[in-house]
């Protein structure tokens, strides 16, 4: 992005060096130096209902590929070379993991807005709200609420790739009480499906609490300090992945 001439020369020099040595430390340095570009490009995709953090992660992956493939001998500016690679990575992310069914923007936005509405209502009533109550509070029709809820399942529904990432793993550990830590670490979780054992801890815990401990989505949301809609999305995603993997196991 905005490098002065001296910095640009310096980076060019480092790219030449990296092309020769493939030194991982140098690679890290080059990636760090261009993170601004990845962030800038990720930001251009934020209106599609994905958290910026996730997008930056995807863009960094594109950046990493670009650093590895960049050939400084060809005389191209790195940013010129990297931009289509990073944008390509972001687009692929939306194609692979995005809304499987084309979800109109207003529905995506309502889906995100309902997260807060549901939280407020749950607190007010001390129980999960009905669809009618949500519609009234959000000043939309029940049909629109239903559509927006469904959007949470459409979201990433086709994502069959295994790693769901250990996003906010650190934050989660901080939130969890000893009891939850014990639950995740127990052997319990693998009795019925070794497939679950491969999931990130948060997803594992949610699956366990919902299907083995019988907590409701709202109760899990409160316990983990996230919204009910978020729990719903994570569950939908986990179940889709479990299904994909179970089928993969059968056919192999």
């Amino acid at each position: 992005m905005a490098f002065d001439n001296k910095e640009r020369d310096e980076l060019r020099h480092r790219f030449h060096e990296y092309a020769k040595t493939r030194d991982p430390a140098l690679r890290d340095e080059l990636i760090t130096a261009h993170m601004g570009l990845a962030e800038y490009l990720a930001r251009r995709f934020t209106n599609r209902g994905e958290p910026l953090d996730d997008l930056v992660q995807v863009a960094s992956l594109g950046l990493l590929k670009a650093v590895d493939r960049f050939d400084p001998e060809r005389g191209l500016e790195f940013s010129t070379y990297a931009t289509p690679t990073i944008v390509g990575e972001l687009k692929r992310h939306f194609r692979d993991k995005g809304w499987a069914v084309r979800v109109p923007r207003r529905v995506q936005e309502l889906h995100l807005r309902l997260g807060a509405v549901v939280s407020v209502l749950s607190q007010e009533h001390g129980r999960s709200p009905t669809i009618g109550e949500i519609a009234q509070a959000a000043a939309v029709s029940e049909e629109e609420v239903l559509e927006a809820i469904e959007a949470g399942h459409a979201y990433r529904f086709t994502s069959l790739d295994a790693p769901t990432g250990n996003d906010d793993e650190g934050a989660l550990s901080a939130q969890l009480g000893e009891e939850d830590q014990g639950l995740i670490d127990s052997e319990h979780r693998v009795t019925l499906s070794p497939l679950i054992a491969e999931f990130p801890r948060r997803e594992r815990l949610i699956l366990h609490l919902r299907f083995f401990e019988g907590l409701t989505q709202s109760e899990i949301a409160t316990r983990l300090g996230i919204s009910q809609m978020h729990v719903s999305r994570l569950l939908a995603r986990s179940l889709a992945q479990l299904r994909a993997r179970a089928e993969g196991d059968e056919s192999s």
């Binding site: 669809i131 949500i134 497939l195 299907f211 083995f212 179940l239």
Partner: protein, 123 residues
């Protein structure tokens, strides 16, 4: 109280219609969002059990029976591509279904493989 019927191609991209409909019908009965989510998970699980991830040639008919404070959903696969064996639920599927609905069963039969699930509204 009433009945709603749906017939869709036996393919996962149409399950969302079955999910939206279960949510719509459940909302009539006054189920809470938590319960609606459970019903959606259940119908997904059962549709996948009947049809599989790859889809089948034929149709899936789903019948929603609205009670005063409960909902029964029946699904039947009408497949043109061969065997109509009763669907098999994995241990994990059984565990999931047991947690989200009150009753649930799958069976084979002359009309094709089918499922039935039942959930009562809390409170």
């Amino acid at each position: 109280m009433g009945e709603v019927r749906l017939e869709v191609p036996a393919s996962p991209e149409f399950f969302r219609i079955a999910r939206i409909m279960v949510a719509g019908v459940a909302s009539r009965v006054g189920f809470t969002l938590d319960e609606v989510e459970d019903l959606r998970i259940a119908i997904d699980e059962l549709c996948f059990a009947l049809v599989g991830r790859g889809g089948r040639l034929g149709t899936l008919s789903v019948q929603y029976e609205v009670g005063t404070d409960d909902l029964t959903v029946r699904g039947t696969g009408h497949f043109a591509d061969g065997a109509d064996e009763p669907p098999v639920l994995s241990a994990l599927s059984e565990q999931i279904l047991g947690a989200v609905v009150d009753e649930c069963e799958v069976s084979g039969g002359p009309d094709g493989p089918s499922f039935r699930m039942f959930k009562r509204r809390a409170g």
